[in-house]
Each structure stands twice: as structure tokens, then as C-alpha cells.
Symmetry: C2
Subunit: 160 residues, 2 copies
Amino acid sequence: MNALTESKEDYLEAILVIGLEKKWVRVRDLAKYLGVKPSSVAAAVKSLAEKGLVSHEKYGYVELAKDGVVIARQIYTCHKTLYKFLHDLLGLSKTVASREACKIEHTLGAKTMKRLLKFIEFVETCPEKEPLWLSNFHYFIKTGERPEVRCREARSKCKA
Amino acid sequence: MNALTESKEDYLEAILVIGLEKKWVRVRDLAKYLGVKPSSVAAAVKSLAEKGLVSHEKYGYVELAKDGVVIARQIYTCHKTLYKFLHDLLGLSKTVASREACKIEHTLGAKTMKRLLKFIEFVETCPEKEPLWLSNFHYFIKTGERPEVRCREARSKCKA
DNA sequence: TTATAATGTTAGTGTTGTCTAACATTGTTA
DNA sequence: TAACAATGTTAGACAACACTAACATTATAA
């Protein structure tokens, strides 16, 4: 019913992501991953368990419940989309792209996420492996200059 | 010294934005603008005043102090950049673009904001009033199809 | 197998930011 | 000017979320 807080979403996503690599997720893993103390994890996990989103036996492993998986996947999908945009298109470093994606993955609405996906799709379905304009943009970032000649040429031919 | 919370930044930005139109900013204006109760505004303003970011006489107007203006402008600039990206480039509606910009304007780091600005600059300094690829993208959003012909033409000419 | 290290839990604290309700001030109008 | 409406303030409650410190359990190694 009532929406999860960003913090709780973070926990769910973390459980999913850690689980992709480690098979078993422990309180300690979550604490490390999220940069909080184990006691904070305990409180969060307890709360999520009460909502039926995770299961957790005392001193045992933390697992996503059915509903928890759904939510975690949603958020993780958003993360990946944002990462793609920030890294592949905007050309930001992996580190920055990943960090920034984390920060806004909870926040953006469905419409925006869909549009961003469209944008990525638009770029990726280009007949060439990378659209010319995107190469030009990356050139622009590096040098601060537009590769004007190529741009104008393409443009003028196109008008005809 | 210690960074402001998002909430506090929201208050500063709100004071700036309201001040652009109304010349005098009152507690009530802030409450309405931010969708909170006047008592919440009172608490926030008091805290900001203690940090020397705003000035506020009892039952009087709220004004940004020197340092407050600097911060407020920074955030507002981010907001405008994000809005531009979301609306002008991604083609999201004014309402959505504005709302989403609000949500992430505090969050994104300097690198990302700069890169986004670069991207906007790249688009705006295009010799044509709008780059072909962007028109194509907007077409793609509307129809779900790429205007392949135009795209390929431009591309093939360009290789030469 | 027992001592110790690693890990997990619980209780209690502090901060932030919202709220309601009661009260204070200011402005407006009859 | 007196009454009322609009606005602002204060006090107190509550929720979320992190922390520390003390205690409990589990795993490891001497």
C-alpha cells in the first residue's frame, strides 16, 4: 500500500545485487554495501520483513520474498537504464555514472524513465554502431570543439 | 561547513524563486510553494537563519542573506539545466520536466551537471536551429519509428 | 573443546523534518 | 476602534533512520 522510503528501496536493491554474486546475503554484506552499521541493517530488515518483502531468520541469511523481488528488480532496472545513459551516452566515468544512478534511481517517475529508455533505444537502434552525432558529442567533450565540417556536410546533404 | 539537507536547499531555492515574482516572501508563500505547514516553514527558516543563510524578523518577511543567495542560485541553475534537458531534449511535458527537475536538482554531482550542460550546449550550438538527430528522436517518440531514410542518407554522405 | 574472533541483535540516543493544536500578532473592515 | 480574518509562532508528538554500547550467537582455530 504505502510506498517504501528510498532507504528501504535501497536495502531491497542491495539484497538483489549482492545476491547476484554471493548467493547468500548476510547482514554484514548489506552493511558494507550500503555503508551503514549492522544495527541499522537489522532495523531495516525487520521492517521489511514485517511488510512481507524479505525473509530473515535470526542470525541467518536475508532473502527477498516474492513481492520484494519485484520491487528490487524495478529499482535495479532503473539503475541500469540510468547508468547506461550517464556512461554510454553522456560519457561519464563508470564510477560517477554508477554513483549518480544510485542517487536518482528511486526518484524519477515512470514517464521519465520510459523516455530515457526510448532515448537509449533510439541511439542503439541506429543503423550504424554509434550515431554520428554521438561521436561528435564525445569529440566535443574531449576537445571543446564541434567537428563542424562533418556536421554541416551531413546536414546540407540531408535537406535535399 | 556541513552541507545542507535537501529540505533546507529546497527552502532556499523557494525563497529565491518566489522572490523573482513577488518581491516580498512570507512564511505563508513558502508553505504554499513547498506544500508544507507554516509551522514547518518556521522551523526551517529559524535553522537557516542560525546558519546565516536567511534573515527573518518575527512576523516579517523572509530574505536570503549573501551566502544564501549563492546557494539558492546554484540549485536554481541546476534546476533550469535539468528542466531544459528533460523538456527541450527528452521532450517531456513542462509539468513532468519541472517536477522531475525538482526531485533531482539537489542530488546530482557537479560533474554530471557539467556534462549535462555540455550536452545542451552541444545541441544548442548546432548550426541548424535543431539538430537533425533530435528532430528524428522526437519523431521516434511520437511514432515509435525511426525516420530511417533521412538518417541513412546523411550518414552515407558524411563518410566520404 | 574451549577460547576468541566474527557476526548479529537489542536498547537507547540524536537528528531531521513533518505534523497538530494552542496561542500571538498583524491587517482589514464594519 | 473593536471584532474578525489572516498570518505567524511555539510547544509537543511522531516517524524514519542513523548511531553507540552492551549483549547474544555462531564460527574458527589453538
